[in-house]
C-alpha cells in the first residue's frame, strides 16, 4: 500500500520515530532512524507512519503511495 523511507541526510537523530512506533522504526548504530520494513501493507501502519512523518524534527520521514 505504501513505501516508507527515511532520508538519512535530513535525519537529525532525534530518536522520535523509534520511540513513537518501535514496530515501524528503529535506530542505527549512529542513532539515525530507519524503517523496520520498507513496505507498509496495513492501513493502520500507514496512518502511524504518517503521524511520525508529521512529528519528525528533520522532516526526514516519507510515506509514499506505492503504485
Amino acid at each position: 500500500m505504501a513505501v516508507l523511507r527515511v532520508d538519512p541526510k535530513a535525519c537529525v537523530a532525534s530518536g522520535l520515530c523509534a520511540a513513537m512506533h518501535p514496530a515501524l522504526f528503529r535506530l542505527t548504530e549512529e542513532g539515525l532512524g530507519e524503517p523496520v520494513r520498507g513496505d507498509l501493507t496495513e492501513a493502520d501502519d500507514v496512518e502511524s507512519a504518517e503521524d511520525v512523518a508529521a512529528c519528525c524534527p528533520g522532516a526526514a520521514v516519507a510515506v509514499l503511495d506505492s503504485a
Partner: protein, 407 residues
C-alpha cells in the same frame, strides 16, 4: 546504614553554582541515585550516565504525564503547572494527544523552514549588539535573552514585549527554593495569562503566522481545545526563552575563559556548527529533562522501580559522560564525535532544535567578533546561577566590551 552522599546536596545552592563535581560523583558511584527532591520532600531517582539517560528518554515504559505519577509526587505538589493551563503543555502529553498537538507546530520548526529565518536572525543579533554597546553596564544575559524573544515573537506573530518578566516567571516557576508554597503555581499562571492575552489580541488581528495557524486549528478545525491552545502558546514562549538565553550566556562565558577556543572560533568561522553542537553538549542550557514516571513496576538500569516512580533524566550529566566522550570535561569546538542529548531524545525531543541551533550559531560568534577585547567585569567566582532545576541559568553576566582599555 546511611546511603553514600554526593559532594553537594542535589538541587541545593552549591549544586546550582557548579553541579559538575556532584554529577561526576553520581555517574561513578550511584548512576541511578535515590534522593528526596527539596520541594515537597518527594522520593525520586536521578539518572546521570549517558546510556541510561538516553534510554530513559526513549523508553515507552515511562511517561512525562503526571497522570502516571505516584501519589507522593502529586501530594508533594511537584506536578509541573498543576491547576493551570501549563499542565497541558506538549512536554507532558502522551500519544495520541502528543501526536495531535506536535504535528500542528512541527512543520514551522523543521531545519528547512527555520533556514528562512537566517537573515532576520542576523538583523536581530546586529540590532541587539548595537543596543548592548550603548549600555553603561553591559550584561551578556540581556543580549542573550533578547534574541530568542525577538525571533519567537516574529514566528508566533506578536512582539513579546514582556519577555523579561516572562524569563523571571519561568525561573520562579521552576525554583527549588520557592518564596512560598504557591509561588511556583502563581508563576505558571502568570505565563498562561500572558498567553491568553496574546491569543485574544491575535484572534482580532489574524495574520500569516504560527499563532494564527494554531488559533485556526482551534476555532476552525477543532483540533485543539482552548486549554491546549493556551498551553501551546505558553510552551513556545517558555521553552525557547530561558533555554536559548542560557546556551548563549554559558557559551560566551566558556569562550571568555578559554582564549584558545575563542581564537579558533574567530579564525575559523566555518566551525560555527560543530561549535554549537559542542556548546549544547558542554553546557547546553537545559540541566535536566522533565520527570519520567514508570508506567508499571519495572527494572531500569539495574534498579527496581515501582509504578509511579519519578526519575529525572540529567541530560547535562549525560553530556559529560567520559564513557561516551574522551576528555568530556574539555570544551573542543572541533569535536565531531557522537551526538549529545542536549536537545533531548525520543518522543519529546526538542521541537525548536533547528531554531535554537540557528540562534546560537549566529549570536555566539557575532558577539565575539564585534567585541574581540571583551572581558568579564567581575571575577568569575562572583557569577551566580539561579536556583531553578530545569535550566542552568546565570543571573547576570557583566562584561567590559572593550577590555581594560576603554569601557
Amino acid at each position: 546504614m546511611t546511603a553514600p552522599a554526593p559532594p553537594t546536596e542535589l538541587f541545593g545552592y552549591d549544586y546550582y553554582q557548579n553541579p559538575y563535581p556532584t554529577l561526576e560523583w553520581l555517574r561513578e558511584n550511584s548512576p541511578m541515585h535515590p534522593f528526596r527532591f527539596p520541594v515537597g520532600d518527594i522520593p525520586l531517582w536521578i539518572a546521570t550516565r549517558f546510556d541510561d539517560v538516553q534510554q530513559l528518554l526513549g523508553d515507552p515504559r515511562f511517561s512525562t504525564n503526571p497522570a502516571w505519577a505516584s501519589k507522593e509526587f502529586i501530594d508533594g505538589g511537584m506536578a509541573v503547572g498543576k491547576g493551570t493551563a501549563i499542565e497541558r503543555i506538549i512536554t507532558m502529553l502522551d500519544p495520541p494527544d502528543h501526536t495531535r498537538v506536535r504535528r500542528l507546530a512541527m512543520s514551522t520548526f523543521t531545519p528547512r523552514r527555520i533556514a528562512q529565518w537566517e537573515e532576520p536572525t542576523h538583523a536581530v543579533v546586529e540590532a541587539e549588539l548595537d543596543r548592548l554597546e550603548k549600555q553603561d553596564q553591559p550584561d551578556v544575559m540581556d543580549y542573550a535573552g533578547a534574541i530568542p524573544a525577538a525571533l519567537m515573537g516574529n514566528i508566533l506573530g506578536f512582539p513579546l514585549d514582556r519577555f523579561n518578566e516572562m524569563i523571571h516567571a519561568i525561573e520562579r516557576a521552576f525554583h527549588t527554593d520557592p518564596e512560598d508554597a504557591d509561588a511556583n503555581r502563581l508563576a505558571f499562571e502568570e505565563i498562561a495569562e500572558y498567553g491568553r492575552g496574546l491569543i485574544a489580541h491575535k484572534r482580532r488581528n489574524p495574520s500569516d503566522d504560527l499563532a494564527s495557524a494554531l488559533i485556526e486549528a482551534r476555532d476552525g478545525e477543532d483540533r485543539l481545545d482552548e486549554t491546549e491552545l493556551v498551553a501551546m502558546i505558553a510552551v513556545l514562549i517558555m521553552a525557547g526563552l530561558d533555554t536559548t538565553r542560557n546556551l548563549i550566556g554559558t557559551s560566551v562565558l566558556s569562550l571568555l575563559e578559554r582564549p584558545d577556543q575563542r581564537r579558533l572560533l574567530l579564525e575559523r568561522p566555518e566551525l560555527k556548527d560543530t561549535a554549537v553542537e559542542e556548546f549544547l553538549r558542554f553546557n547546553g542550557g537545559v540541566a535536566v529533562g522533565f520527570f519520567r514516571f514508570a508506567k508499571e513496576d519495572l527494572e531500569f538500569a539495574g534498579v527496581s522501580l515501582p509504578a509511579g516512580s519519578p526519575v529525572i533524566p540529567a541530560v547535562g550529566s549525560a553530556n559529560r559522560d567520559p564513557r561516551r566522550w574522551p576528555d568530556a570535561d574539555r570544551l573542543d569546538i572541533t569535536r565531531t564525535g557522537p551526538r549529545h542529548v542536549g536537545l533531548g531524545h525520543g518522543l519529546h525531543n526538542c521541537l525548536g532544535a533547528a531554531l535554537a541551533r540557528l540562534e546560537a550559531a549566529v549570536a555566539i560568534p557575532a558577539i565575539m567578533r564585534r567585541f574581540p577585547q571583551m572581558t568579564l567585569a567581575v571575577p568569575v567566582e562572583e557569577l551566580r546561577y539561579d536556583e531553578m532545576w530545569l535550566v542552568r541559568s546565570i543571573n547576570s553576566f557583566p562584561v567590559r566590551l572593550h577590555g581594560d582599555g576603554k569601557r
